[in-house]
Symmetry: C2
Subunit: 144 residues, 2 copies
């Protein structure tokens, strides 16, 4: 019974496409990005003006989560299921790495807000490149 | 010059759609979910079998990031730019909330792996519901 339902869901999802439209993009990145956890690179996130009200509580000094699209990644195939992260000695399953080459090319970073002016958020600790499409911004919430 | 480039990029992105296909889905959630930061709910994430090799380094006891689709959210409109989070007194900009109603209905949770068997990851601290499409799994990385 469960197996049948499972099979149904898998077939359903394999054919299911989920579409997003960027809320903005990254610009003005001054360094070659490294992973956000070790990056001090600065840059700007320009948000589509129609969402400007939604930014009203973002403050300088705060950390935010940025969800973005690795838009320069090659298409994923099974050869990328196991990858050697740049600073590790061993090969790992893709879901245990931060590789930009993954089944869905979704990136996640925590960056520091160094300023906000209208629809432009200046940030530090960015590991994105110019014109990276930004999909979402969220607050950093600690496990309570 | 910069403004012209900006205008170009905005027009470009407004018309740009980014498509993802779920890597799996959530099932067997036993409680009504609360936000992951306060949830103890257990559930399972079933990953498409073609990605099973990519799960090889996920271990019991570990925390993982789950990126998912809020597939039951109503369509976003400007009325949702400001929202009152359930446990706060004041209204906030959507990008400072974890609301499932956001321009791109992307969810983010950190959950604890309580077991893994083949393509089925048992997790605790879930705030998703049955059949939530999962888009990505990532390791939890601390700022170094």
């Amino acid at each position: 019974m469960f197996d049948g339902f499972l099979a149904f869901l898998i077939v359903f999802f394999v054919n299911m496409k989920i579409e997003f439209v960027p809320i903005g993009f990254v610009t003005d990145v001054k360094e070659i990005p490294r992973h956000w956890s070790i990056s001090d690179a600065e840059g700007k996130i320009i948000i589509d003006e129609k969402y400007i009200e939604g930014l009203k509580d973002i403050r300088q000094g705060q950390k935010i989560i940025v969800i973005f699209h690795f838009h320069k990644s090659p298409e994923f195939n099974s050869g990328y299921l196991i990858q050697k992260p740049p600073h590790k000695e061993m090969e790992m399953g893709v879901f245990s790495t931060c590789s930009p080459v993954r089944p869905n090319a979704i990136g996640f970073s925590i960056v520091e807000v160094t300023g906000i002016q209208g629809n432009i958020i200046s940030v530090r600790g960015i590991d994105m490149i110019d014109s990276t499409p930004v999909l979402d911004i969220k607050p950093v919430v600690e496990k309570g």
